[in-house]
């Protein structure tokens, strides 16, 4: 049995690690304890919390606004309106309200904190291999400063779909994927970047997003209806103005609900349409599958009927996160370096002295 040869092997690997633009620190000896997790060197513009468990976009101000609006409005409802309504009408009102509130918060946090389906960037070997294949396909590169945009055509269900090459991530984007400029990531089945939830909405969190806006519509309508009921019941006893004076919180809640209910219900309706036709917001805005582009244009991803489309979007399998943000960086794994300056790194056994 040959000896382990540990330290020598580590020396080889560490030589490779320090070469290139990889931002990770390379453990030079086995004794070094600082093993970093992958989220610390993630190339996209994301913020991570709780040691990589939570992932959000960089701009989260509007998300905090959403949180505050929901918490304050619901809090006021439970504190001021529910006691009166529970006694006067039924205690089921705060119970149902409570269930709706927890569902809204649960789905909101799931949408905001989870990985939307980010595609990890290509490793240097992959990028080099792709560039080689593209050069072969194009003939040698044209004399321009930048070669013409690279696309690949694929036939899906009889429809021709163009796959674009992403210059940032150095991959050919899968169908329905798109690059989010705010987060600087390619996201699978990219729907849109939502500032209200502080994250992209993509393949992995679209159903949470939909459940969020649906339950929020119900919650908003619920609170609005019962606040109005509360004020009306009170006015029957003490007059309208006195009722408003007795429970000023109701006025605030009514105002917030009134102004938000239209957009939230509108959004729910829009996304219900998208789900039933299996389109993304991105595709709908671009009109990728509309009839206006031509009679032969149809959506190749649709399953044909509304029921199946809905079931798949909401109850289909969830793929796990591809970016493994809490994993440890392995010293011999090539990390995706942003500028690939043409020098390919063939894994762990290439010597620095060759360069």
């Amino acid at each position: 049995m040959p000896p382990g040869g540990g330290p020598m092997t580590d020396c080889e690997y560490s030589q490779i690690s320090t070469h290139g633009s990889s931002p990770m620190e390379s453990p030079h000896s086995k004794k070094r304890i600082a093993a970093r997790r992958k989220w610390e060197v993630f190339p996209g513009r994301n913020k991570f919390f709780c040691n990589g468990r939570i992932m959000m976009a960089r701009q989260t101000g509007v998300f905090y606004l959403t949180l505050v609006l929901i918490l304050v409005t619901s809090g006021l409802f439970f504190a001021f309106d529910c006691p009166y309504l529970a006694v006067k009408i039924t205690p089921a009102i705060p119970v149902v309200g409570g269930i709706l509130f927890f569902f809204v918060m649960g789905t909101l946090l799931r949408t905001s904190f989870s990985d939307p389906g980010v595609l990890p960037r290509a490793t240097p070997d992959e990028a080099a291999d792709l560039e080689r294949q593209i050069d072969i396909a194009n003939g040698t590169s044209s004399g321009g400063y930048r070669p013409p945009p690279r696309t690949k055509e694929v036939i899906i269900n009889g429809q021709t779909v163009k796959l674009k090459y992403c210059f940032t991530c150095k991959i050919f984007r899968p169908p329905r994927a798109s690059h989010c400029s705010l987060c600087d990531n390619c996201v699978e089945r990219f729907d849109h970047h939502c500032p209200w939830v502080g994250n992209c909405v993509g393949k992995r969190n679209y159903r949470f997003f939909y459940m969020f806006i649906l339950s929020l519509s119900f919650l908003t309508v619920f609170i609005f209806a019962f606040v109005i009921t509360h004020v009306i019941l009170r006015s029957q006893q003490t007059g309208f103005l006195n009722a408003l004076k007795d429970s000023p919180a109701s006025v605030l809640e009514a105002v917030v609900c009134f102004f938000s209910v239209w957009s939230i219900i509108g959004l729910s309706g829009f996304h219900t349409y998208l789900i039933s036709s299996n389109q993304t917001t991105n595709e709908d805005i671009k009109g990728s599958w509309s009839n206006k582009r031509g009679k032969e244009n149809y959506n190749p991803y649709s399953y044909g009927n509304i029921f199946t489309n809905c079931c798949v979007a909401l109850c289909g399998p969830i793929s796990p996160s591809l970016i493994d943000r809490r994993g440890y960086i392995q010293p011999d794994t090539p990390q995706p370096a942003a500028p690939s300056n043409g020098i390919t790194m063939y894994g762990a056994t290439q010597s620095q002295s060759d360069m």
């Binding site: 092997t9 798949v312 109850c315 063939y346």
Partner: protein
């Protein structure tokens, strides 16, 4: 089993990496995860076409099983929705279970078929499900190998009994 795994590790240390071949995704069926079964010319001298195709087809089958839309996946989805998705904190999804199966299968294939031929399959999940990366190794002591710069000899002696690769 232990000696076979040891051989895999030795492969990484003792042989020098010559090149890598990437099997790209096949999108003709939509966005589901399938890989192209086209046989890459670089593997022509290394492995039989049938073995390679069988491996890729089995992998494709596994991925199709993971993404299968049917009764059990709907049940899982509805249950998760009913618990406001808190159930994911304690339960493993069907997809994750199949991914574990896949990684066991790849490990097994590497030990039995690919490593003895100087090849190594990387689990696609480590490459973002974009490619199946096949690393082609040249034996250090084989002459005329087109390795792109082997490192100064590692102290560990290889299973093949080669010395330090001198370049």
């Amino acid at each position: 089993m232990a000696t076979e795994v040891h051989n895999l590790q030795e492969l990484r240390r003792s042989a020098s990496l010559a090149t890598k071949v990437f099997i790209q995704r096949d999108y003709s069926d939509g966005t589901i995860c399938q890989f192209q079964t086209k046989f890459p010319p670089e593997l022509d001298s290394r492995i039989e076409r049938q073995l390679f195709e069988e491996t890729v087809k089995t992998l494709n089958g596994f991925y199709a099983e993971a993404e299968k839309i049917g009764g059990s996946s709907y049940l899982e989805g509805c249950l998760a929705c009913a618990t406001a998705y808190f159930i994911f904190l304690c339960m493993e999804t069907h997809y994750e279970k199949v991914l574990k199966k896949i990684s066991r299968y790849i490990q097994e294939q590497n030990e039995k078929i690919f490593a003895p031929r100087g090849l190594l399959l990387t689990d696609p999940v480590e490459r973002g499900m974009r490619v199946i990366e096949i690393s082609i190794y040249e034996d250090r002591c084989s002459s005329g190998s087109s390795s792109s710069g082997s490192s100064s000899g590692s102290g560990s002696s290889s299973a093949g009994g080669g010395g330090a690769g001198t370049r």
